[in-house]
């Protein structure tokens, strides 16, 4: 079973994403900001991370920078999942090492294909 860490400050988004991901057979953990997520990754690297952009304490971009520097931090596939829907943000995310990008709102089909493309389903 693959592990997915959902990093999002919205409880509703975490709940919806968890529901979709569990339906696809993932074991899911959650973090409400980048700092919490980083601590969880230090304890155990997930296979894939669903990452929001704007969060209190530590943003998604900041988290991604730290993650990729950590030992084993190149392993998780990172799928940005955000309301930042313009091309500049998308390019910045890819340049920073994101593997895929989901724009909110999204549905099961979208998430499933993105996870397929990063080799997780």
């Amino acid at each position: 079973m693959k592990n997915c860490l959902i990093v999002d400050d919205s409880r509703v988004i975490r709940k919806v994403s968890r529901h979709l991901l569990e339906g696809m057979g993932f074991a899911v953990t959650e973090a409400a900001d980048g700092k919490d997520a980083l601590a969880q990754c230090t304890a155990q690297m997930p296979d894939v991370i669903l990452l929001d952009w704007n969060m209190p304490v530590m943003s998604g971009m900041e988290f991604l920078g730290h993650l990729r520097e950590q030992e084993g931090g190149d392993k998780p596939r990172v799928v940005f999942c955000t309301t930042e829907n313009d091309i500049e943000h998308i390019r910045a995310a890819i340049d920073a090492g994101a593997d895929e990008y989901v724009m909110k709102p999204f549905d099961r089909e979208t998430l499933h294909v993105k996870l397929q493309l990063v080799g997780m389903v």
Binding site: I94, M103, T110, V113
Partner: protein, 292 residues
């Protein structure tokens, strides 16, 4: 809505309208969705109930309205590269086979039946554009048709919401083939170039451009009854090149429906006109429409 008889009448009018315009059944199981499907149209046409809307259909201005009502009742669900595995087979086996067959003519003609808002022909166009080096001096024509005026209008515009644009597409393809303009995603003119969109009913004679080397008719037949399906199969058979192929949606099959098509060996979901080594699938004369 009014009394039970009034409601039955209303549904009967709607069912008849849908059958006439599209060949589809408004089966009882789909009736509960009618109100949701028509809610936007109710607001736009100043009607408060469906009965009122249906009454307007009989007015002298009813004709454009009935086309919009039929459009609203259709299910236009689609997304890019729907059924990824099928598109993998298309990219890795079916297209190379067709390209090899057409080396001399250097021409490929494709028909997308029930193309909805364009995601399916655009997925095909992407696959072909990504093989541009191989198809450099080829003439590629994709005729994409749908009975829904609204769907064809959207497809022609080629501008999608972020929700639509990302459905089925990886980010790499999205930024390669779309341009973001004020929060909307505009498809590259290069992908639109080989596509000719046309409003067209699949029950009628095929559009210009036949014989087609490949016909896609995916997630369309499932809304029809058997005689209507047979009618569509006949139209497709008439439009297909002798060595062309038909691609159906997951769960759709000509088996038990028509003897005009037989499965293509090793290509799941693809069908060819009956061949002599498959006698049971050889085309028969005049197996046509039971429906008028």
């Amino acid at each position: 809505m009014g009394s039970a008889t009034e409601r039955d009448m209303t549904h009967e009018v709607l069912a008849q309208l849908l059958a006439e315009r599209t060949g589809q059944d408004l089966s009882p199981s789909r009736r509960w969705r009618v109100e949701t499907a028509l809610s936007a149209l109710l607001r736009e046409s100043d009607a408060t109930t469906i009965d009122e809307l249906v009454a307007k259909l009989t007015s002298p201005f009813g004709c454009p309205l009935s086309s919009r009502v039929a459009d609203a009742l259709l299910n236009n669900e689609t997304y890019f590269f729907r059924d990824q595995q099928v598109f993998d087979v298309l990219a890795k086996s079916a297209l190379p086979k067709l390209i090899a067959q057409r080396q001399d003519k250097r021409r490929l003609s494709i028909w997308c039946v029930g193309c909805s808002t364009g995601q399916e022909p655009l997925s095909l166009s992407m696959l072909l554009a990504e093989r541009a080096a191989m198809l450099d001096d080829w003439q590629i024509n994709i005729v994409a048709t749908d009975v829904s005026h609204r769907a064809i209008d959207v497809a022609r515009r080629g501008v999608y919401t972020p929700f639509e644009a990302q459905r089925g597409l990886g980010i790499e393809r999205m930024i390669r083939w779309f341009e973001e303009v004020d929060g909307r995603w505009k498809v590259s003119p290069r992908l639109l170039k080989p596509i000719r969109y046309q409003q067209h009913n699949a029950l009628h004679a095929p559009p210009m451009g036949s014989p087609f080397d490949l016909v896609l008719c995916r997630n369309v037949l499932l809304y029809f009854d058997k005689p209507t399906r047979q009618q569509v199969f006949s139209q497709i058979a008439a439009s297909l090149a002798d060595d062309g192929m038909l691609l159906l949606g997951a769960g759709e099959t000509p088996v038990g429906q028509t003897a005009r098509f037989a499965p293509v060996k090793d290509l799941t979901g693809f069908y060819c006109l009956g061949t002599p080594d498959m006698p049971e699938a050889r085309p028969r004369t005049a197996e046509v429409p039971a429906r008028g």
